[in-house]
Amino acid sequence: MTMKGPERPLFDVEEMEVSFGPQHPATHGVLRVQMKLDGERIVEAKPIIGYLHRGTEKLFETMTFPACIPHTDRLDYVNAAHNNQGFCVTMEKLLGISIPPRAAYLRMILAELQRLASHLVWFATHAVDIGAITPFFYTFRERDDILDLFEEYCGARLTLNCMKIGGLPFELPEGWLDRCAEFVDAFPSHIDEYETLLTTNRIWKKRTIGVGVISPEDAIDMGLTGPPLRGSGIEWDIRKVFPYDRYDEVEFDVPTGTNCDTYDRYLVRVEEMRQSTRILRQCLEKLPEGPIMAKAPKVLRSPEGMVYGSVESPKGELGYFIVATENGTEPYRCRVRPPSFVNLQSLPKMVEGSLVADLMAVIGTLDIVLGEIDR
């Protein structure tokens, strides 16, 4: 990527190498970006990852199927429910378990609440990266309400471990549905509040429109999923394409963008929050009575084969690829397809040729979580 401008620079230009992170206020964890700068312009950006590598995939190979679930919590730590759900959905596919409708609906409620929580974290950090500090506190206030709901349901706020292969571990506590409904009713007005601060703000628009553009063709080629792909105008959502649990029974729209830039991805995510509340309303309405666990054996024994299952996590397609051996009680190989990992790969494509400040906007808009990238 060369700098736009006169063919031959007036002065000798020396590129400055800046190592961005792994300790830096804006890198969302321990991401490191090795940059070559020409003044403020990024000539080359190379993400360096692996500072949080804990060998989770190796650990999966040593533990029984149910014992894997708490470890999935720690992959994308702001988004535990989807990790649980992805693993459980995949295992149910492998074992041929079909879960009761009540369990499926409860899973959807938990997953959509978690999506809201995750998007709120994204909103907060994205805004802080671009210099608006106040939305952080407003979104975390609502996120705390969601975490309270989680805590009431399963006893944990962050690393939930709230699903089991074949259903759910707990029945709902008394009054939980009412509190959830109360939250869902109040939430859209809060979204309006956040949007007042940013959506129409001219500084916000200047910072995001036309920044981090990736064309639909490139987006597909780089394997983008989730909001970054939808921001590039491709209507694609695992919940619609390969519905799991009972997502085929609820109505919702898949928002898409047109300009393929950071602002569109911002709008897509904000709209996704609204759609999530819509799904939540329907789920709360339709929630049937019945058992919450399928009739699964206590000790799960797998057939031989490979299976891939995926869910639409707030970051993109979260997939689990499990290779099982005959009568095995633990996965022979369990690969996680982390959406953040694949999405981060297109960071150089998005930022090269733009300014340092745009790097922040793009890292924010990719919504990466390093726990998931490094695994």
Binding site: I220, K295, E304, V307, Y308, G319, R333, R337, Q345
Partner: protein, 233 residues
């Protein structure tokens, strides 16, 4: 057991072997009777015993036939399991197969690429897995290429940009070398790391890399039970 605590009810700790056996038999009988009664009435799928998916031949899948037609001898076998087709292809032909699938069959999205280690297997140690997606009809196809430990493989990064990091990861964690990769470096571990962590012969507890390892410290008499200590009786 200290004296100030309530002594445990002795009956709870006593196991009457004979009585236990009898109780077990009775319970099993009751369960069998209940099961027979339940089997008579129709049940919801989640009430029934789960039926695991089975393998079936997928040679007549249209992608497989197309592949066979265009690139003769590239397909070794095709298997259908749990709603997905796995096509085993020759490792030497992987780039041609991928290019064909992308250009002719519209598989323009590489969802995932990974590897599986089978150290004991004769055909070759590693399974390379490519998991493709087609947007037009949302079909997914899994390619499998078997690679030996000292074999290399053609990189598919020129076909799908997404393969770049995934191949780096496979190289890092399994040690499979990809040819013509734009920058095959370690990605999750560091350059110079001794070993490939996801191989089955890599110890789970890790290796001494020279970095400080802080051992677990336990109080005297605590800590994990050593094998020579014996696990109960």
């Amino acid at each position: 057991m200290s004296d100030d605590k309530p002594t445990p009810n002795i009956d709870d700790l006593v196991i009457d072997v004979e009585a236990e056996k009898a109780a077990k038999i009775a319970a099993a009988k009751a369960a069998a009777a209940k099961k027979a009664a339940e089997e008579a009435s129709p049940k919801d799928p989640w009430e029934e015993k789960p039926v695991p998916p089975v393998h079936s031949d997928a040679a007549d899948d249209d992608d497989v036939t197309a592949l066979n037609g265009a690139l003769e001898g590239s397909v070794v076998g095709a298997d259908h399991f749990a709603g997905a087709v796995t096509v085993t292809v020759r490792a030497e032909k992987i780039l041609d197969v991928c290019r064909f699938l992308k250009e002719e069959r519209d598989y323009d999205f590489l969802v995932d690429q990974t590897a599986v280690d089978w150290p004991e297997r004769e055909e070759g140690r590693f399974d390379l897995i490519y998991w493709l997606h087609r947007y037009s009809d949302s079909k997914r196809l899994r390619l499998r290429a078997i690679v030996g430990e000292d074999q290399t493989l053609e990189s598919v990064a020129p076909v799908w940009g997404a393969a770049n990091w995934m191949e780096r990861e496979v190289y890092d964690l399994f040690g499979v070398v990809f040819e013509n990769h734009p920058g095959l470096e370690r990605i999750l571990t560091w350059e110079g790391f001794n070993g490939h962590p996801l191989r089955k012969d890599f110890p789970v507890e890790g290796i001494d890399t020279g970095a400080a390892i802080y051992p677990d410290v336990y109080p005297s008499g605590g800590g994990p039970i050593q094998p020579d200590e014996g696990e109960g009786a």
